[in-house]
Symmetry: C2
Subunit: 220 residues, 2 copies
């Protein structure tokens, strides 16, 4: 029995549970995002800015994935939205069955938008479908403009790209045009937002897109 | 047959090859570092600054690990040091056998210091011994001060911590004292350097430590 066979079985099993999650989300009209990025690219900060703006407009819930600690769920819980922390204890990505278990702690019929914040890892989470409507990859300007070329799977499998920390552009070696060009070379259909959680730039455009897509899903 | 058994077998196999690599390095008196970090924390930039300062003083070789592209090996090759690129094609970490294969392209007796730059990933590379003398983890200030708590294995298994991009401290939400405190809470024996590849701050101290340790190894 080879490793590849085992890995394929794990992925097949995961895809089956992801399919079940997706059905459950469809039944309840929930718009579900799987947020992925390197550690420290700003997923939780974007989530905080998003909750500030949209929590009175939409019923939002959050599932936090971390290798260790519940620091992120605590940050999110301050906004009075339902938040569940998954601690993977060394695991490098979320899997569909972990999300399914977390759903038991949420009242699905009271949710319009569910945001799943994955473990900070630009490689492994790209292979694991959680049942989401789409993956949102966050790339920070401080990581440099070559990352889409070096970690292509994540950018290929995402539908949305948030270029975060654009307020730091004057201080870092990153050409925003080249970063965008590299990402669109890997995946020309990416919807791109440019944001700064420090200045608030771009957060409105992202939230408008998010609210529009959540409403469309709930209405369908 | 369970997944855990397979994973253990993979790790046992890896440890055996790592042991062989370590013996080979000892036979040739080579000081070997395994550099790990999140994507974009600055491993390659630190390597460039290091090569600038030390390449006339020490015989240095580099093994670059990336999911895709040979961009980093090209950056390093400009400094006229032997450089080998390992492309993992989706793999999230380097393994000892990949390093062993790369060694076939290097003249071991002509090397004092071998720096292996791992795939940008703060989770998976922590489990894989490559035969190195020590792991050096690079954490950038832009990632925030909570990362050692959220990704403890990497900080626990490293001997050296480089806190990079300290020139950006005025612009980011990161308390350097708390970052250091969090790292030392996980691993009190970490040797810590604070660096900026933009201003050059701290690079001399790091290079002095590196030269001293390489010489000690070569002499032993």
């Amino acid at each position: 029995m080879s490793i590849i066979t085992i890995e394929r079985k794990v992925l097949e099993k995961n895809d089956e549970v992801a399919r079940q999650n997706r059905e459950l989300f469809a039944d309840h009209g929930i718009f579900v995002l799987n947020m992925v990025s390197s550690p420290g690219a700003g997923k939780t900060s974007i989530l905080e800015r998003t909750l500030e703006r949209l929590r009175n407009e939409l019923d939002i819930a959050v599932i936090e994935g971390d290798v260790q600690t519940d620091l992120d769920a605590r940050r999110v819980a301050k906004y009075n939205v339902p938040a569940v922390q998954i601690v993977t204890r060394g695991g490098c990505h979320l899997e569909a069955n972990l999300v399914r278990d977390a759903l038991a702690n949420l009242e699905l019929k009271a949710i319009d938008l569910l945001i799943i914040e994955n473990v900070g890892n630009l490689v492994c989470p790209s292979n694991y479908d959680l049942g989401e409507a789409m993956k949102v990859v966050v790339a920070s300007t401080t990581e440099g403009d070559d990352k889409p070329l070096k970690y292509p799977a994540m950018f290929r499998n995402a539908s949305v790209l948030i270029l975060n920390k654009i307020d730091l552009l004057p201080y870092v070696q990153c050409n925003l045009s080249i970063l965008k060009e590299n990402a669109l070379k890997i995946n020309p259909s990416l919807t791109v937002f440019e944001t700064s959680c420090t200045t608030g730039q771009g957060i409105d455009a992202w939230c408008e897109w998010l609210a529009e897509n959540s409403r469309r899903k709930t209405a369908s």
